[in-house]
């Protein structure tokens, strides 16, 4: 199956082509190019739903994986590096999410991006290609190339097209996440070296199965197997947690979001954060599931759960203190991603499945929120609560979608966010086998996030959207153009569709994550 190779090739070539196109045509050209991976991934999603009913986990049962392709690439001191790709129920929705958000983000760039357009759109496509690679790659080397490959376009997109403090934000983003990758890399390779001759490639499935089989690891440099696993787990957790981000590794995020132009924020919140949780699921929770469930160090799951829950409340409290709409949404992303951590560490079907579903749901909803804030900014040239009020009077449809999106963020039932959060709570409340006796309490504390999120979003909406119309800046609201509002409507529709029928994604997700959960018991 060359479907993934085709997606990658088209997107990469399209990116290169966009760099060469004249600025005036770059936007339309790039959007047209991005329609190919969009349609391709939607088609693949459809094929997956109809033909790959029983596909399991990509790492644990790669035989029947969807769209699989593996070609030997490089021989390297006993290891064969492969071009190896394929999709399971976790990566398929994430890949589709990437394609959907990229196209919509490109359309939403038409209004705000007015300089160096060919470079901007080219970099956006480059980033899309890397993201597709991250979710599809099944070989560590290949995966790592894409993983790092995402950083470069993102760094440039923030650093060149960003706000006043763009250089600070871009460098902070790059150094922070790159340093984290380094730690993760060291942790992972400690495992690889300790596996020794039992693996012949750097294929993630092979490594995962070897690690889970037990007995394949040998002590390395005087460190016992358990300690080695523990250290590797911590190193990888640290590396991925920065991306998510969880407290206290989150401070790059608000800076990056505030400085990044809207479409870049959409990609950052919508997809890039999910790289962290996706990798956590693939590496920490699949390969080292025994460490994750506390078999090596009993305190591990409850500690991770506590970090996740703290992120939920802490992020929400920070959001409550902000006046910049974009900062509010940025901090609330920290809060929402905390739920994902809680769901993962619960290690139950609803917990891990819900966490994965929440990645998709939050990707759509946070993208929607950032876009909505962006549309308001395009019209008013301010994002500050207090600089404007009564916008509902001038841009009713945009405000209508904004309000809907905000309620989606608050977890209104029949919208995707509710399903994600509900599944996580169902999975973690009774997860006493992993999280221990504190599971119900920690889950209940995390749930309080739904009250705080309502507090800050309702407050922000009351101040900016309602009341008598006033605007402190020297701009006139003309009503947003159709191509600014249409992406919002599309995302809102997706959020509702997924909220009404979560099994569109949740079923394949569960098929993919349940093989990880060999611990049994719980819900």
């Amino acid at each position: 199956m060359v479907a993934i190779a085709a997606l990658l090739a088209v997107t990469l070539l399209g990116a290169l082509g966009t760099f060469l196109v004249d600025d005036r045509h770059a936007a339309k050209f790039a959007t047209a190019v991005s329609a190919v991976p969009l349609l391709g991934s939607v088609l693949m999603y459809y094929v997956y739903l109809t033909e790959y009913g029983g596909v399991g986990n990509a790492l644990l049962a790669p035989g029947d994986i969807a769209f699989r392709q593996a070609v030997d690439w490089i021989e390297l001191s006993g290891f064969t590096l492969q071009y190896s790709v394929g999709l399971d129920g976790v990566s398929m929705p994430l890949l589709t999410l990437t394609a959907v958000l990229t196209t919509l983000a490109l359309v939403s760039s038409w209004t705000p991006i007015d300089e160096r357009q060919s470079q901007f759109y080219g970099l956006m496509l480059l980033m899309e290609a890397s993201l597709i690679g991250v979710f599809a790659a099944l070989d560590f080397f290949l995966w790592f190339v894409f993983w790092e490959g995402v950083l470069i376009p993102m760094y440039l997109l923030i650093g060149v097209w960003g706000g006043p403090r763009r250089k600070y934000a871009a460098i902070k983003f790059f150094v922070y996440t790159n340093a984290a990758s380094l730690v993760m890399f060291v942790g992972f390779f400690a495992l690889v070296f300790s596996l020794g001759d039992s693996i012949s490639t750097l294929g993630l499935p092979e490594i995962a199965q070897a690690l889970r089989a037990g007995g394949a690891l040998s002590p390395l440099a005087g460190i016992s197997v358990d300690q080695l696993k523990l250290l590797a787990f911590v190193a990888m957790f640290f590396g991925f947690a920065v991306k998510v981000p969880v407290f206290p590794l989150h401070t790059w995020l608000p800076d990056a979001h505030v400085e990044a132009p809207t479409p870049v924020s959409v990609m950052l919140a919508g997809v890039l954060l999910k790289m962290g949780t996706y990798a956590l699921l693939r590496f920490n929770f699949t390969m080292l599931s025994d460490v994750a469930t506390g078999a090596v160090l009993a305190i591990m799951p409850v500690a991770i759960a506590a970090i996740g829950v703290f992120s939920v409340i802490y992020g929400a409290m920070l959001a409550l203190a902000q006046r910049d709409l974009k900062r509010i949404v940025a901090y609330s992303s920290i809060s929402s991603m905390g739920y994902v951590i809680l769901g993962l560490v619960a290690f139950t079907p609803y917990g891990v499945g819900g966490a994965t579903f929440q990645m998709i749901a939050h990707g759509l909803i946070s993208g929607l929120m950032f876009m909505a804030v962006g549309v308001i900014y395009n019209e008013t040239h301010t994002r500050m609560v207090g600089d404007m009020s009564g916008l509902a009077d001038r841009m009713p449809w945009t405000v209508g979608i904004f309000v809907s999106a905000a309620f989606g963020y608050m977890g209104l039932p029949l919208m995707a966010g509710f399903a994600g959060e509900l599944f996580i709570f169902l999975g973690s409340f009774g997860a006493t086998e992993t999280i221990g006796a504190l599971a119900p309490l920690l889950t209940s504390v995390a749930m309080f996030g739904i009250v705080i999120v309502a507090g800050y979003l309702l407050w922000a909406m009351q101040k900016t959207l309602f009341g008598s119309y006033e605007l402190e800046t020297d701009y006139e609201i003309n009503g947003a153009p159709f191509h600014d509002v249409a992406p919002l409507a599309v995302l809102l529709l997706l959020v509702i569709v997924l909220g009404v029928n979560p099994d569109l994604s949740f079923r394949m997700i569960q098929q993919a994550v349940n093989p990880i959960l060999d611990v049994g018991g719980g819900i």
Partner: protein, 693 residues
């Protein structure tokens, strides 16, 4: 041949369609979506009537219809319908009142030249759809989902006049306060699923085998706790905790102390909305939920006592505040809170029928009173202060007579609807208070005493309102020349006015006791057949609840005052006497040509009442005086400490880098010196360590 139940989903779907029509096409329709709403709710009403007739024939319905998630290796979550007599009754109430409110809105909104009408009718449609879906939810998760959607609609409609300052703020408050309650509800829902997941595929179901009330009952009765996960608690303790968690949502939506503060503010919404949402239906959702899962609450004496006490206290507490309010809708708002207190009192003290009965009569007469108030507000050019009115009786007779009918019902004067239901509430609390042992009985009696006292206040504030608004001489120019209202206002008022007078006849339990005639139809309706039939299948029959109440809730009745008949008569006489006393007191003070504000004589008590016992103040303080400063502090901490460390690390590396750079001088002799020094140091180290390691 398809039966009524096959069309039951349409009861909620029709108003949903009218929501879509009004939202997207309302701008182009003649009445901006009103007609679509009227058609939809009328259709729903007819379907509900058909369903009710089918249920009367002894048929019920309890099916999963839509799989939310199949759950794979875990339990599934679904949406489905549960239709039993309780559901059928509530469907009728909601659709009827929604229909009347839609018609009334033609007069209140369209004729008054309001803008944004498609949004208004879309909100009404979505609300009606969500409320109906909530009513016939077959499981607690679906109930929660639509409970929340109802909250959203309330938010949208309270904030309808978004250009003004107060409505958006009131809308925010309503959603936040009820969300705070729903937080506990959600924990309860999740906990119920986790608790019962091991024992059934449908852990959240309300009725039938495998439903959580039934499983919980088995667990307590036979110790059948296999598959139940009570997280280390004793089953009865854990079930009490679950009940109390769900109760959080109930208290939020049904505006029970201390989560009642949003409701008076919600009067910022258009008056028909107040009638539909904040009096007759949405606020009923909380109480209805307790009734829906009554088999679960009846298991726990502690939960019952708490429900009864909250109810009794809220009834009295809100009634006292109603006494001093000056605006028509404010009086009605506090009376709503108070009346829902009665329903909670009934549910807590084992009066399931009484609660459902009061829910029914209250829906009718409170919708009537709000619509009557709406009519007055139209007439008064949107002046709501009763002191600016007076003498409207002769100018608007239809409004007056129907409003009077509603007021007599609210005050509990025989034979109007409220008398029968309120009397039954108090009677149940009284006999169970005397009959139940220990703390439970004391709690019931305490709640009863508060409820009884509130009867006097109810009579007083109701007729203070009637006299100030309609009697005496007009006190302002507007009241002298009120604006006329049309058929679309008078029609719904007339319908409800008649109903408020007669709807109490569906359950004249006292008359039955005295004459032996079987005229307590509601009792028969909710009881079902004695043997077999739907009560055996669903376990939601009255008879079953009474058994559970007796066996597990430890609720039993005794008749302290001369047997059942004697107690009944004394109880009825007490509540009627107090109500009349309240009415007469109001009459002597306010039914005079030039009434003055006698409540001023209350002095500091009045200040306390006008400030609602400072309930709003402390809640606002919790939000802005506690939570917000904590958030600010967290922000400072985040920027200063957490991010400070990050920036610190980067400054340290920059600083070291800038210093280390200085040794890169580019002068060869310096490098030579470094090499020499390093070599010497290495040699010394090797010398001391004794060779190459």
């Amino acid at each position: 041949m398809a039966g009524a139940f096959d069309f039951a989903p349409a009861i909620a779907l029709l108003p949903f369609v009218s929501f879509l029509v009004a939202l997207f096409a309302g701008q182009y329709l003649p009445k901006r979506g009103a007609l679509a709403g009227i058609a939809a709710t009328a259709g729903s009403f007819l379907l509900s009537a058909w369903v009710a007739i089918t249920v009367a024939g002894g048929e019920t319905y309890n099916e999963a219809l839509y799989t939310f998630t199949a759950g794979l290796d875990a339990f599934e979550l679904h949406l489905g319908l549960l239709i039993d007599p309780l559901t059928a009754l509530m469907l009728l109430i909601v659709t009827l009142i929604s229909l009347l409110v839609h018609v009334f809105s033609l007069g209140y909104m369209n004729d008054e030249g309001e803008t944004g009408l498609p949004r208004y009718y879309a909100g009404l449609g979505l609300f009606t759809a969500s409320m109906l879906a909530f009513v016939y939810s077959d499981n607690i998760l679906m109930a929660f989902m639509f409970f929340e959607l109802v909250g959203l609609c309330s938010y949208l409609l309270i904030g309808f006049h978004f250009r003004e300052k107060a409505p958006p703020s009131a809308a925010k408050k309503a959603f936040l306060v009820t969300r705070f309650g729903d937080y506990f509800f959600l924990i309860g829902v999740v906990a119920i699923f986790v608790t019962f997941a091991g024992a059934t595929r449908t852990p959240g179901a309300f009725a039938g085998e495998g439903s959580f009330p039934v499983l919980a009952e088995h667990a307590l009765a036979d110790g059948a706790t296999e598959g139940l996960n009570t997280l280390g608690f004793e089953p009865d303790t854990w079930f009490t905790i679950l009940g109390l968690l769900v109760l959080g949502g109930v208290m939020g939506k049904s505006a029970q102390f201390p989560l009642h503060t949003w409701l008076p503010d919600a009067m910022e919404g258009p008056t028909p909305v107040s009638a539909l949402i904040h009096a007759a239906t949405m606020v009923a959702a909380g109480v209805y939920l307790v009734a829906r899962m009554y088999g679960f609450y009846a298991l726990s004496p502690t939960a019952l006592a708490i429900v009864a006490l909250i109810g009794g206290f809220t009834a009295l507490f809100a009634a006292t505040m109603g006494v001093v309010k000056q605006e028509l809708k404010q009086v009605l708002a506090y009376s709503t809170i108070s009346q829902y207190g009665y329903m909670m009192l009934a549910l807590g003290s084992g009066g399931y029928i009484a609660a459902v009965f009061h829910l029914t009569t209250h829906a009718v007469f409170k919708a009537l009173l709000f619509l009557g108030a709406g009519s007055v507000i139209i007439a008064m050019h949107h002046e709501e202060n009763m002191w600016e009115m007076g003498g409207l009786k002769d100018k608007m007779p239809v409004t007056y007579w129907s409003f009077l009918s509603g007021s007599l019902a609210l005050a509990g004067i025989v034979p109007f609807a409220g008398f029968w239901s309120k009397d039954e509430v108090l009677f149940e609390a009284l006999i169970h208070g005397f009959g139940s042992e220990g703390g439970l009985g004391t709690a019931f009696l305490l709640a009863y005493a508060m409820g009884l006292l509130a009867v006097f206040f109810t009579g007083f504030y109701t007729f203070r309102m009637v006299f100030l608004t309609f009697h005496g001489e007009p006190r302002t120019e507007t009241a002298r020349k009120p604006h006329g209202v049309r058929w679309n206002v008078k029609g719904p008022l007339a319908v409800l006015g008649v109903l408020a007078a007669i709807v109490g006849f569906i359950n004249m339990a006292p008359v039955r006791q005295l004459t032996g005639a079987h005229i307590d139809f509601l009792h028969t309706w909710l009881n079902g057949p004695e043997e077999g039939g739907w009560p055996a299948e669903l376990s939601t029959g009255l008879h079953h609840y009474e058994e559970v109440l007796h066996d597990f809730g430890l609720v039993s009745a005794s008749y302290p005052l001369g047997g059942e008949t004697g107690t009944l008569l004394v109880s009825a006489a007490l509540s009627l006497g107090l109500a009349l006393a309240g009415v007469l007191a109001a009459r002597s003070l306010y039914a005079v040509p030039e009434p003055v504000e006698h409540t001023d004589e209350l002095g500091s008590i009045k200040t306390l009442l006008m400030h609602n016992y400072y309930q709003d103040e402390y809640q606002v303080w919790l939000a802005t005086g506690v939570t917000y400063p904590i958030a600010r502090a967290a922000d400072k901490f985040d920027q200063g400490v957490v991010d400070g460390v990050v920036n610190g690390i980067s400054s340290v590396s920059l600083f070291t880098g800038s210093r280390v750079r200085r040794i890169q001088t580019g002068v060869v002799s310096n490098y030579a010196a470094f090499i020499t020094i390093a070599l010497v140091v290495l040699l010394v180290v090797f010398g001391v360590a004794g060779g190459w390691f």
